[in-house]
């Protein structure tokens, strides 16, 4: 395993995609700071640095999907997995080392983003205004979600031997997860009562009415659970600080990690390689 990780990180250091990811993380942080600073100057908005730190989480799934599918896809297209097996590495170790490299790279990207936000953002926007323990809890939850994302996309990359198909499936999946999360969020954010307007004797009159689209208690539970299970739903709630129960999110992520990694290990062990 150590040999596989050593070789994996050596490849990572020389990999163009990794350096692009690094530049992207720094560039995105600087871009966010620039746009928020402009808004602050123009409209006098109050910008919270901690909020900027959390914002990257909403798109981290896309970044992981692209990185994992392309980085691990090469393992098949260039015959690296074939080589690793034929020189006696266990399939379990190959799978886990690839997962670890993906996780560390993704976390590195996020941490780098936060460091840039902290170094450049705090002097511009002021210090963090929420308790540090609250921020750390949110970041911890985001990190666990990142690991869950990595386990899903590593699973896909290790199951599909074609780099292009891996990339397409991963990207479709991440957008699918985001769409599902947004749908649930939209349903959950519906107002219970709405103002309905009607003309009475030629005059417009408003009255408070029950919103027909307001979900029932059961529906709310279902959508909240779907949102909590879905990594995209988790990060939307974390970035918006709207999660009703923060503690369950890492548990759902842990479930995803166990299911996808467990299934991946079993299936990869049986996979017929060409």
């Amino acid at each position: 395993m150590i040999k596989l990780l050593n070789a994996g990180f050596t490849r990572l250091r020389k990999n163009k995609l990794f350096w692009l990811l690094t530049i992207f993380s720094i560039g995105l942080a600087l871009f966010m700071i620039y746009t928020q600073y402009s808004d602050m100057k123009k409209y006098g908005e109050v910008i919270e640095v901690y909020q900027l730190m959390l914002n990257y989480s909403t798109i981290i799934g896309i970044v992981i999907a692209i990185f994992t599918s392309l980085f691990l896809g090469v393992e098949y297209s260039d015959g690296a997995i074939r080589n690793k097996i034929s020189i006696g590495h266990k399939r379990t170790n190959i799978y886990l080392s690839n997962l670890i490299i993906t996780i560390i790279t993704s976390l590195f990207s996020y941490i780098l983003f936060m460091i840039v936000i902290a170094i450049v953002g705090i002097p511009l926007f002021g210090t963090i205004t929420i308790p540090i323990s609250t921020l750390l809890k949110l970041i911890w939850c985001i990190f666990v979600t990142i690991i869950a994302y990595c386990s899903i996309f590593t699973f896909i990359a290790m199951m599909i031997s074609n780099k292009t198909i891996t990339a397409i499936v991963s990207i479709i999946l991440v957008f699918g997860l985001m769409m599902c999360a947004l749908t649930s969020l939209n349903i959950l954010s519906a107002q219970e009562y709405i103002q309905a307007g009607a003309f009475v004797d030629g005059e417009m009159q408003f009255k408070k009415e029950k919103n027909p689209r307001y979900p029932s208690e059961e529906e709310r539970k279902v959508h909240q659970t779907l949102l909590d299970i879905n990594p995209a739903g988790q990060v939307f709630q974390l970035a918006g600080r709207s999660a009703p129960n923060l503690k369950v999110l890492p548990l759902y992520s842990l479930g995803i990690i166990v299911v996808f990694t467990g299934a991946g290990l079993v299936l990869f062990k049986k996979k017929e390689l060409k």
Binding site: I2, K3, L4, N6, A7, T10, R11, K14, N15, K16, V74, D78, G79, A80, R82, N83, K84, I85, S86, I87, G88, H89, K90, K270, E272, L273, K274
Partner: protein, 304 residues
């Protein structure tokens, strides 16, 4: 003689298609074992199974005496190097970086041997050129260098000269001979280029429809391919006595047939025999090539 690889009734089925059908091969230490078979005969399937990429449907194999069901099978694979179909190289990396990567993968304590390996395969001057821009021959040689990174004593090369130009074929051939002679590496090489294999192989395995139909050493094969006279005789003992006295290379095929190896002037040969009152009922002169031998094995015999 120590057996490096042995397969026992190896079978591989893909749905209804049987890629390997009770294949049995035996590779001795120090051999260059040429695995011969037409496309689709099962060569690559056999190699994939030996390298652990696929599981056999039934049958077993042993590498250095370790059974494939043993938990130590991965450990013995650490003594192997392989190129399966295409060389396993990262196209975005240079030759040196690819070797550094392999050195880390196999856990070499230092990177000291890389220059020697690059020199061995003639890639010492490729500098910063990425492997994806290499010619097919260069890629193949880099693949061999990668397969040699762990100092293997068993090397598996699947169709290593496919698509190479004549110069590339010569380079690979010389490299294989050098590895076998100087480093005593046992080599399994699959190919359907019979001529090329005949220049390097010490042993042959003929694979057809998933089965090894014949295993033969190159010495035996050369003997079979030699110019020979096939004599049909009734007084076999007298002929044998004469051949022994005159140190003539021969082989008794059955109680009426003797093969005499070597190039002889047929009329002079018959004259010499007749002086000793040795009259053959029939004499047939023949010369066999590896190609003929192979064709007879796989199809000719069946069609005749």
């Amino acid at each position: 003689m120590e057996i490096i690889l042995e397969t026992n009734n190896l079978e591989k089925k893909y749905k209804d298609f049987r890629a390997l059908n009770h294949a049995n091969i035996h590779i001795e230490k120090g051999a260059i074992y040429g695995l011969i078979g037409k496309n689709g005969a099962g060569k690559t399937t056999l190699i994939r199974i030996i390298c652990g990429l696929q599981e056999p449907t039934s049958g077993t194999y042993t590498i250095y005496g370790v059974d494939n069901s043993s938990s130590n099978i991965e450990s013995v694979r650490k003594r192997m190097g392989a190129i399966i179909e295409t060389p396993s190289i990262y196209g975005e990396m240079t030759a040196r970086d690819n070797l550094i990567e392999q050195y880390k993968l196999v856990g070499m304590p230092s990177l000291e041997g890389i220059d020697d390996l690059l020199k061995l395969v003639g890639l010492e001057n490729t500098g910063n050129k990425k492997a994806k821009n290499f010619s097919l021959g260069m890629k193949q040689r880099l693949g061999i260098a990668i397969a040699l990174a762990n100092n293997p004593d068993f090397l598996i090369l699947d169709e290593p000269i496919n698509g190479l130009d004549p110069q590339g074929i010569i380079e690979i051939r010389e490299l294989i001979l050098k590895l076998n002679k100087e480093s005593r590496i046992t080599i399994l090489i699959s190919s359907h280029y019979l001529d090329e294999l005949s220049k390097i192989a010490t042993h042959y395995g003929f694979l057809d429809n998933g089965s090894i139909i014949k295993e033969i050493s190159s010495e035996e094969l050369m003997k079979k391919m030699e110019h020979k006279l096939t004599l049909k005789v009734s007084n076999q003992k007298d002929f044998v006595k004469y051949f022994e006295e005159n140190k003539i290379s021969y082989e008794v095929i059955d109680n009426k047939t003797i093969d005499v190896y070597g190039k002889y002037n047929l009329s002079k040969f018959i004259n010499e025999l007749s002086k000793k009152n040795l009259i053959a009922d029939d004499i047939h002169e023949q010369e066999e090539s590896l190609e003929n031998y192979y064709m007879n094995l796989i199809g000719g015999g069946k069609n005749d």
